[in-house]
């Protein structure tokens, strides 16, 4: 192992960019799992679905980020439908939602994966845009432009989610339902409708994250499996439901992964997220930035 400060510096800069991207892909889960307690294991699969939809629009000449924004309304509806179904079949019946709820979302993830394989085959797909493939040279470092775009979009999503949750009426209602569902019911509000709305927003954000995913690199149908670890790691590390925590946790994971990547090689990188996750669960299960 060669150690140099220059390499470390480069790893940290790249890690911060990567971390912004990880935060972007985890924000949807931070709402769905962190705030609503839905064991949404299919979250990365929905994101990969979003990436493929972006690819489809891209073949018509759409810019990927623009396509991601255009995909948000249909994914919002998809999210509402998915939550409604989950609520009717599991939460409403109440009993044993844990085991079957998780199994349900795993089944959904499998169905999405295979449907993508059947439609697009197992080949990797990528999109084209002006900012993909170029890089900025700052001093001695070359920073790929696509990572900067991903980072920018990530910051924009997290900032707007944070504002939405703290400033708007519905946003506060979502936070309230996460804190105390019964109290909200006593105030005369319908928690199920609010949760449904929140899940829709989470899914819409995930669609945009999918667009960022395909900007950062080529996608293939089984890509979601790596991101199960990364997204849950970020959300748990953040402390459930904290948006600013999610960004911070994304950055921590990004920097950790990038340092391991540069010093030990790519074959060790996938274990970083899961190792970090186990460590957090063992030492501080409520997360670093618990609400």
């Amino acid at each position: 192992m060669i150690f140099s400060f220059e390499l470390l510096y480069e790893a940290i800069v790249f890690g911060i960019l990567l971390g912004g991207f990880y935060a972007a892909v985890s924000l949807g889960l931070s709402v769905a799992f962190g705030l609503l307690d839905v064991p949404h294991v299919a979250h990365p699969a929905v994101m990969v679905l979003g990436a493929y939809c972006t690819y489809l629009l891209g073949t018509y000449g759409w810019d990927p980020i623009l396509a991601g924004i255009a995909l948000m309304p249909p994914f919002f509806l998809l999210g509402i439908a998915l939550y409604r179904f989950y609520y009717e079949t599991f939460e409403k019946r109440g009993s044993d939602a844990g085991v079957r709820g998780i199994a349900f979302f795993f089944g959904i993830a499998f169905i999405i994966e295979v449907s993508l394989i059947l439609v697009f085959s197992v080949d990797q797909r990528l999109v084209e845009a002006d900012y993909i493939g170029k890089s900025l040279t700052i001093g001695e470092m070359r920073v790929p432009l696509r990572m900067l775009v991903a980072f920018g979009v990530a910051l924009a999503i997290s900032a707007s989610l944070m504002l939405y949750l703290s400033k708007t009426f519905t946003g506060r209602a979502i936070k309230a339902v996460a804190q105390d569902e019964l109290a909200l019911r006593l105030m005369g509000a319908d928690p199920v409708r609010i949760k449904q709305w929140a899940f829709g927003i989470a899914t819409a954000v995930t669609a945009l994250a999918g667009a960022v995913l395909i900007v950062v690199g080529p996608v293939e149908p089984m890509l979601d499996r790596v991101y199960i670890g990364r997204t849950f790691c970020v959300v748990v590390l953040a402390g459930l439901g904290s948006m600013s925590g999610t960004v911070a946790a994304g950055l921590i994971l990004g920097v950790a992964e990038s340092i391991v990547l540069m010093h030990f090689g790519a074959s060790w990188a996938p274990a970083v997220a899961f190792g970090l996750l186990l460590l957090v669960l063992a030492i501080r299960p409520q997360g670093l930035f618990a609400r």
Partner: protein, 321 residues
């Protein structure tokens, strides 16, 4: 009680004898090739159910135990040329230990947190094996099968018979856990961990026991994988598919009785084998996903639940009211 007891053991013995007769008969080789997979998932689903079904802890780490079992067996085979039985014993010991360690680290977590922690174990194990050059690293290695033991004509037939014996052993252990105080304790802690703890059930010790035994069985099921495939590589050995198949088998069959995972695994893998042969191997993953979702939504108690409902309805229709 004693009548049911002896009936079970007669059934178990009959299964082993039947498997031996089949393996020595002139049956088409493909039957054993497919039958091995079916039996392997009977073992995995049964093992999964010990923790997932009785105690309600959803373990997604099946692939980790399965893969580590396969790698343990292969490492012993490659370094010492160890015979199959030694490979099995070693795989059971190593994965039992892994189960104990995993349990110790993660069983204090509840619900989805436990599940995610067990997924983490898969990826960490896979990364370790990927970086272990001796057993082939990321690319994997071919495995040279030795000649089959005396009564069996081919190696696949022998493995089929061994897997049948392992399935009977796994089901017997599951049944023992189910009808003994261990099973009662696990069911109690599934319903309410606090209540169980308060009434003197040693919850952590029971969970650790279940995790260790189920891990050892999963690992043993994986131990013959290198020989069966004549090849070993990390990506397919630690595939999440094993985890989902084990869980799907148990949930589709019904988790409250030892018969559930057996029925579920047989149904699921048979449908898959048929679909693989007639349509395509991609669709067979879709089959798991769809069946899992359909059962979880429409028949939460699995096939056993459906059968029970049917029997009750028939009894209600038969009795004069």
């Amino acid at each position: 009680m004693t009548r049911r007891f002896s009936r079970f053991w007669i059934g178990a013995a009959a299964t082993v004898v039947l498997a031996a007769m089949l393996a020595l008969s002139g049956m088409n080789e493909y039957f054993f090739f497919a039958g091995y997979v079916v039996l392997q998932f009977v073992v995995l689903a049964t093992a999964w159910n010990m923790l997932g079904g009785y105690a309600g802890y959803v373990n997604f780490g099946t692939a980790a135990f399965f893969g580590i079992g396969a790698y343990t067996a292969f490492a012993l085979f490659k370094s010492l040329g160890a015979p199959l039985l030694v490979q099995f014993a070693a795989a059971a010991a190593v994965t039992g230990l892994l189960g104990f360690g995993t349990g110790l680290m993660t069983l204090r977590l509840r619900g989805i947190f436990f599940s995610i922690a067990t997924i983490a174990v898969i990826f960490i194990a896979e990364t370790l094996m990927m970086n272990w050059r001796y057993v082939g690293g990321a690319a994997g290695l071919p495995v040279l099968r030795p000649l089959p033991q005396a009564p069996f004509e081919t190696y696949t037939r022998m493995l089929f018979f061994i897997m049948a014996v392992l399935a009977v052993v796994a089901v017997s252990i599951a049944r023992y856990i189910e009808i003994s105080w261990v099973g009662r304790g696990l069911r109690a802690l599934r319903d309410s961990e606090e209540a169980a703890e308060c009434s003197g059930v040693p919850t952590l010790r029971l969970k650790l026991f279940a995790c260790t035994v189920s891990g050892a069985l999963m690992g043993t099921a994986g131990a013959s994988m290198p020989m069966y495939q004549s090849f070993l590589e990390p990506a397919s050995s630690f595939s999440l598919n094993y985890s989902v198949m084990a869980l799907a088998g148990a949930i589709i069959g019904g988790t409250s009785h030892w018969l559930g995972p057996v029925l579920g695994a047989i149904l699921l893998t048979s449908v898959q084998q048929i679909v693989t042969v007639t349509i395509s191997s991609e669709i067979n993953v879709l089959v798991v996903g769809v069946l899992l979702v359909v059962f979880v939504v429409a028949a939460p108690d699995g096939i056993l639940g459906l059968l029970g409902k049917l029997r009750r309805r028939r009894a209600a229709a038969g009795s004069p009211s």
